[in-house]
Symmetry: C2
Subunit: 309 residues, 2 copies
């Protein structure tokens, strides 16, 4: 048995004016609480260090460079790395990355209990749009401020577990899960900032959004026989409401723990990573059952082509 | 608006001794009931015409050829085709196909209101095993009696709707859904015969099996913005219990209708196929959001390869 206490550190809204140091202090408080419960791996949300600024339009993108990190770790987050190493705890969190080449990514990392970054992931499926669109209830300008990730969905072994990451909208795409599943993933960490309102549909509010979130995560976990931690930045942030609903899901697709509040909140569950083997060797034994000769369109055709008749 | 009444004709157990004529009479009774409710498209289960014989082992496979149809339609099912044409109703059902070349497939067809077969699908993801395995609570010998389908997941326009099919275990594989989604599918019909017991896990019974079924169908419908009809052969069949739980799901992944019994039962819902367009043009706008450069493994690697470190 490979048992481990794992946790999601849901984070309430981070307002524009909040400093990274203040955020990191909140993160450390949750890490302390996790340690007290014996947690050895802790997941924080997408873009943990800052407000979700893609809801704001700015003509000159460079004006928003201050939301990005140019190195990781850096001085603001070093206390978090230090505390985790003291505890012997692995963790993952998301932030905005500005590379030396001037590229902007929506990024997350997995950090080992020794404080080393063992895996970097750059968000693949950027939702939203690149230009100001007045018909929307609010803007969602991820396609303006980020490049699509260039890492793909890699998996690395850390703490004797095969770990991978996805970010927010990635969780709705079964491709994200499957590419990691094909590498034997046993724990997928997913941070998200999901607005409670679909900005193009007045009838799609909190309840539907939570349903779609949970449906996607549970299906992805089940269909790839992997644990998943989906962890929100939530509540009111700069006047916008986000869904919350952080969950820890087992490799059978069942929710083990669920956040119920809209602020900083820790949820904890015991994982036994050996439980991933049953699904991987039976109903989702990929080698025995997948038929790649019929999957060609998935990796060769981006958009829809309706049949000609 | 493209509104249409659609329905699932759930079928209770069909015992070994039951003739095809008797089964077709039961199918017609459900078709009559559907017509009375204005239904214009009706889905029947996988292997509707016979018992689910892959639960039985026979050394000489040819002894089971009598479960297969060598032409479609044939005399036994012609009354069903005739009744549907009288009603101007499209329909789909599953059966076991033996080709002139001697190939065995688990097959389904979509029939137009004019009585023409407009699409043939042969099951891709065969579950189970090919040899007798005494450690199982029951046998599930689909890999013994069928070849993996050679059609892939095609989509055809019938009744002004883009329709596709999957069969039973296919619904658990997001690849099935996505290949059809990439062809703009608006209605996926899925027949199934799912045992209520996982034959390799004594702790996985009816409740879990229904959850996995519904999770897979709702996720597939949502993630491809398509209606889905998932329809069971259910109840006790030759001493084995199957899960039932037929559902009709909307393109938002919500269940519109659900069967509650374990026998012949009709469930009906109104579809508006124009509702598929919202998801297909926003969150699941494939052309805008998919990143095929990171999906290569899905179509090139069948089984798991863990990362080397």
């Amino acid at each position: 048995m490979r048992k481990m206490m794992i946790a999601a550190a849901q984070i309430g809204g981070i307002q524009k004016a909040e400093s990274r140091e203040a955020v990191v202090a909140r993160m450390i408080a949750l890490m302390d609480a996790a340690h007290a419960q014996g947690v050895k791996f802790l997941a924080y949300p997408e873009m943990t260090l800052t407000t979700f600024f893609p809801r704001f339009y700015v003509e000159d993108r460079a004006e928003f460079d201050h939301w990005f990190e140019t190195e990781m770790p850096n001085a603001a987050v070093q206390p978090l790395f230090d505390r985790a190493r003291d505890y012997g705890m692995g963790f993952t969190f998301g932030y905005c990355e500005l590379t030396p080449e001037g590229q902007h990514f929506n990024t997350s990392v997995i950090v080992s209990p020794e404080g080393e970054i063992v895996l970097t992931y750059r968000k693949t499926h950027l939702p939203g749009h690149a230009e100001y669109e007045p018909e929307r209830t609010h803007q969602h300008l991820e396609k303006r401020y980020f490049l699509p990730g260039d890492t793909g969905f890699n998996v690395a072994r850390s703490q004797d577990v095969l770990m991978g990451m996805a970010i927010c909208n990635d969780r709705r795409w079964p491709e994200s899960w499957r590419v990691m599943g094909l590498q034997g993933v046993e724990l997928v960490s997913i941070g998200y900032n999901t607005p409670s309102q679909n900005n193009l549909s007045k009838t799609e509010g909190l309840e539907k959004r939570l349903y779609h979130h949970e449906l996607s995560v549970c299906a992805g976990a089940y269909q790839n026989s992997t644990y998943a931690i989906a962890v929100a930045k939530c509540g009111m942030e700069d006047g916008n409401h986000m869904i919350g609903g952080s969950i820890i899901v087992d490799p059978d697709g069942f929710v083990l723990a669920r956040a119920t509040g809209e602020g900083d909140e820790l949820i904890v569950a015991e994982a036994d990573f050996d439980k991933c083997a049953f699904g991987k060797s039976t109903v989702f034994n990929f080698a025995a059952h997948r038929r790649i000769e019929h999957y060609g369109l998935i990796a060769s055709q981006t958009g829809v082509k309706e049949p000609q008749q």
